[in-house]
């Protein structure tokens, strides 16, 4: 149910505008990636808090249980989670966390006026100026570190690159 004054079609339209950067520049791609990674990592965080709560016995336990009970609950949770699909999902989360972190640092710097470059006059018949070179470098650094985090997480969980 939506609030008064907000139609479903206007929200869908906003979602389309938000998620499809189309012909816009890198700046717009970084905006979309920041929001998508933020939502996915937030959902992962909620699931992670619920899942770690399982290893002391779940939502019904509010006092310290027996050690053996907690150990058994933990082993059962691990048995459920230890599979290639979960490993791959966790690697994607690693990718998104690294991307969100470095891109977030870039955004904070930009918000406080660092690494913006000097203002330029718009030139006729040429596209408007986008990222400064430092901002562009930070964006690509976030992508590079995200790929590294993806591969590292995958290897830590599944020994993909080791004998």
């Amino acid at each position: 149910m939506l609030a008064r004054g907000v139609s479903r079609s206007s929200v869908i339209q906003s979602l389309k505008v938000m998620l499809i950067p189309g012909r816009y520049g890198l700046e717009r791609w970084s905006y979309v990636l920041q929001r998508v990674s933020g939502v996915v990592v937030s959902l992962y965080f909620i699931a992670h808090v619920l899942e770690t709560g399982n290893f002391v016995g779940g939502i019904t336990v509010w006092s310290v249980p027996d050690y053996s009970f907690a150990e058994r609950a933990y082993e059962e949770t691990v048995k459920l989670l230890k599979n290639p699909i979960f490993d791959a999902g966790l690697a994607v989360v690693g990718f998104l966390v690294a991307l969100h972190t470095i891109n977030g640092i870039r955004l904070v710097l930009a918000h406080f006026g660092f690494s913006l470059g000097r203002p330029r006059r718009p030139e006729p018949f040429s596209p408007p100026p986008s990222f400064s070179s430092k901002q562009r470098a930070l964006f690509w650094l976030s992508i590079s570190l995200a790929v590294f985090a993806l591969l590292y997480t995958l290897d830590s969980l599944m020994k993909v690159f080791r004998p």
């Binding site: 907000v6 929200v11 965080f45 808090v49 939502i59 907690a70 933990y74 972190t101």
Partner: protein, 121 residues
Amino acid sequence: MRERDLMLLHYITGIGILVFGSIHVATIFFTYPFQDTIWETTLRFDSIPYAVLPVYRNALLAASLFGLLLCTTVHAMNGLRSIITELVGARKRWVEALLFAVGVFLLVYGTRTILIAHSLV
């Protein structure tokens, strides 16, 4: 709260996540040589340093986990709020109330896990 204060809070909690999250990631991914996967080392229940339970038993690491829980809850709920506000076009009280309730639940449930695991012997 005003939008500018919320954004400042967003940045401060982001820096908190960077600090506490680095400790969390380091204990899981960087405390063992790479002969085995983390399933056989840091994701074991107990019996080796930096397995799951020893991390919770260590007061400083448990406090850092609480710091991570607090910062991530505030950052995530405020982030979702700002995305929904962008989509809907205005701040909605029911959205903020819902996200606040989810945040309080996560904080209470996560703190319960940390306290119980810290006391487990």
